[in-house]
């Protein structure tokens, strides 16, 4: 083998070797999986919000806007009250307030639910910078939240001792755990409790529910408000949980991804959660695959790697949507006869 060729092979094998090494490296997997958890948390909250609203029969594409308002209000609350708990509560309250607009428009006035949702997204997109200008004097981003008043990460006592899992699952902020708890609570509530049954009845057969004495419209309004609460949590995670301040348009389309995850999860909490984890995972993987060689393939151009989350969305939607089961009365206002 001449010198030129041997150099080429050496370069090839070292890149290849590095690629394989990386995939066997435990630290790589710890960082990948804990990043997956963090990235899927806002999606999980928002998608659960979508679940509450849509299972009761109200289409909610306003998740994005509700999240943005939640993110802004949480940052303001954290700065104003100097406490992250107050921040989270402010985020919840503000998102719930805006969600009430959607509830009133869709349930009380029978407005087109897609149009109302879109209107709220546009409204939120303008409102957040406007309030930011009024309260912080800048339209772009809020002041930074200093670490003294920032939400602290939790170390789970026993769990953190377990080698691999402890590193992945411990040292997150409380909101990450809250999201997981909410998923299972919602699942149990929806499946086992009478209210959960009513919730599904209202979305599937409002007439039947009504004849059983369930107040359909009141139920729907409360469900949309619940989705506001969850979107507020999602927003709070972005601005004061994971980040340390509000930045303009910081949701960056996560509300729509959450909606996709909920549809992919067939309007059920646990499958929706796994869909969120999948989207979080592809995003985390995409981040780590940029510029890292893959075994057998070498380095993949970054443009292709960045396509990954979108490709997964397309494949997932094209492959699974056929068998998805939307609530039967989704998008249809209930008019009592």
């Amino acid at each position: 083998m001449d010198e030129k060729n041997s150099k080429k092979y050496e370069a090839f094998y070292s890149a290849e070797g590095k690629g394989i090494m990386l995939w066997l490296d435990l630290a790589f997997w710890v960082s990948l999986l804990s990043s997956t958890l963090r990235l899927s948390t806002p999606l999980t909250f928002a998608a659960l919000g979508g679940f509450f609203s849509e299972r009761s029969g109200v289409v909610n594409i306003a998740l994005e806007g509700l999240m943005l308002i939640g993110a802004f209000a949480a940052a303001w609350g954290n700065l104003y009250f100097q406490s992250s708990v107050a921040g989270v509560l402010c985020g919840i309250l503000a998102a719930m307030l805006v969600a009430s607009l959607h509830a009133v428009a869709c349930v009380k006035f029978k407005a087109d639910q897609i149009v109302s949702g879109m209107a709220i997204n546009i409204f939120a997109f303008g409102l957040a910078p406007m309030l930011s200008k009024a309260l912080f004097g800048t339209r772009g981003s809020s002041p930074q939240i200093l670490s003294e008043i920032h939400m602290q990460t939790w170390n789970i006592p026993l769990l953190e001792k377990i080698p691999f899992f402890g590193d992945v699952l411990s040292h997150h902020i409380p909101l990450v755990y809250l999201a997981i708890v909410f998923v299972f609570m919602t699942h149990l509530w929806s499946k086992k409790s009478a209210l959960g049954l009513h919730h599904r009845a209202v979305g599937d057969h409002p007439e039947a529910a009504d004849s059983l004495g369930i107040k359909v419209n009141r139920f729907r309004i409360v469900s949309v408000l619940c989705s506001g609460v969850l979107c507020g949590l999602a927003g709070a995670f972005l601005s004061i949980g994971h980040g340390s301040g509000f930045a303009r348009n910081m949701t960056s389309g996560r509300g729509y991804i959450a909606l996709t995850a909920m549809i992919f999860g067939k309007w059920k909490p646990i499958p929706t959660f796994f869909a969120c984890l999948l989207f979080g995972f592809t995003d985390a993987l995409q981040i780590r695959m940029q510029g890292t060689p893959l075994p057998g393939l070498g380095e993949i151009p970054p443009q292709f790697v960045q396509l990954l989350p979108y490709v997964v969305t397309m494949v997932v939607l094209a492959g699974f949507i056929g068998s998805s089961q939307a609530p039967k009365a989704l998008g249809i206002p209930y008019i009592k006869e």
Binding site: S31, R38, L39, K108, G140, S244, R248, Q290, G291
Partner: protein, 349 residues
């Protein structure tokens, strides 16, 4: 039920009517004020931001600062627009041009097409666009030699790094940001040939410049791979990068505006792109009748590009480093040292 709907709708209509009346009042007022202004000779400047908005703590904010300085010192009349979406750029530029503004300044490469169209329609109006070129006689294209500054901060990063690993987090994956990335890597390797440079981009859409959540995850992944200095050329996505470096108590490098103050003690320096100077100078020239169309370049030589040393970071960078940087700066200005330029490389390949 129907009754209340009617009530609601009629209230809405009433509201609309009231608005309309106000609108016409405003327009009348505007007309009269315009008439007044055409009598006086106030120089009118319109500034169109890109989607990140005027207060992005970075690129747009710098342009805004320059225009405000001109407003205070030169007594111009300044109006600004923040277009809400991509389709509004042309409209915003058109609005200024058709209302008789003397100079319209458009911030950001994304407005290239809009300015191209509007400037062709209004040959009597002067235009300036930042970060891209529009080939019309009434358009001044303000270009920055970002690669020179990136090279210098790359050197700072490599000299500060204890792990011999430095990171780069870019916003949207576009030639402009690659220009930063390539020169940063070259600068780091110039200071320390064995340094490892990790490069990541936040995305392929304009949202990649406003996603601090993604920025923090990108930075965390680089930190997990050993990076201890990370350069963020990513708009407000960079705020997330600074969060990550502050949590681990390592270093970030800011971009465009001086960002040293955002996380004092954890921001090593900022690569300054003096958009404010370019905007101010362009307004001044246009006001004095010295406006010239064509490409204008701002570089290390005229301090249009620089690195920031202030009270927040003066203890982080030692004199030895500064001496070496100044030496390299002179070499770049004199042409002795060639910094790789992505614009040139991509054209040739």
């Amino acid at each position: 039920m129907l009754k209340s709907l009617h009530l609601f709708l009629s209230l809405c209509m009433l509201g609309l009517l009231a608005c309309e009346k106000k609108q016409s009042e405003i327009e009348n007022k505007e007309k009269s004020s315009q008439a007044q202004q055409s009598e006086s000779t106030t120089f009118k400047v319109g500034l169109v931001f890109d989607k990140a908005g005027a207060d992005d703590k970075s690129f747009n904010e710098s342009a805004s600062r320059g225009a405000k300085q001109a407003q205070e010192e030169l007594g111009i009349e300044l109006k600004t627009i923040e277009p809400p979406d991509d389709s509004a750029y042309e409209l915003s530029n058109e609005r200024f041009a058709s209302r008789g503004y003397d100079l319209v300044i458009s911030v950001g490469f994304i407005q290239e097409e809009a300015v191209q169209k509007v400037a062709a329609r209004h040959p009597e109006t002067k235009f300036a666009i930042i970060d891209t070129t529009v080939n019309l006689p009434n358009v001044a294209s303000l270009m920055f030699e970002e690669h020179q500054g990136s090279f210098l901060v790359g050197m700072i990063a490599a000299m500060k790094s204890k792990t011999a690993t430095v990171g780069f987090v870019g916003g949207m994956d576009i030639p402009l940001i690659r220009r930063f990335a390539i020169a940063y890597e070259a600068g780091a390797k110039h200071a320390n040939p064995d340094v490892k440079v990790l490069t990541n981009y936040a995305g392929v859409t304009i949202e990649a410049f406003s996603d601090p959540t993604k920025g923090k995850e990108l930075a965390s992944s680089q930190i997990a791979q050993g990076a201890d200095v990370i350069f963020a050329a990513a708009g407000s996505t960079g705020l997330g990068v600074f969060d990550a470096v502050a949590e681990k108590n390592i270093f970030g490098i800011g971009v465009d505006s001086n960002q040293n103050w955002i996380k004092p003690g954890n921001i090593l320096t900022s690569m300054l792109k003096r958009v404010d100077v370019a905007v101010y100078e362009t307004i001044k020239e246009a006001m004095n009748g010295n406006f010239e169309g064509g490409v204008k370049r701002f570089s290390l030589e005229d301090k249009g590009i620089d690195y920031a040393i202030d009270q927040y970071n003066k203890d982080l960078i030692n004199q030895e480093t500064i001496d070496q940087l100044e030496k390299t700066k002179k070499q770049i200005i004199s042409g002795e040292l060639k910094v790789p330029d992505y614009y040139v490389i991509s054209k040739n390949s």
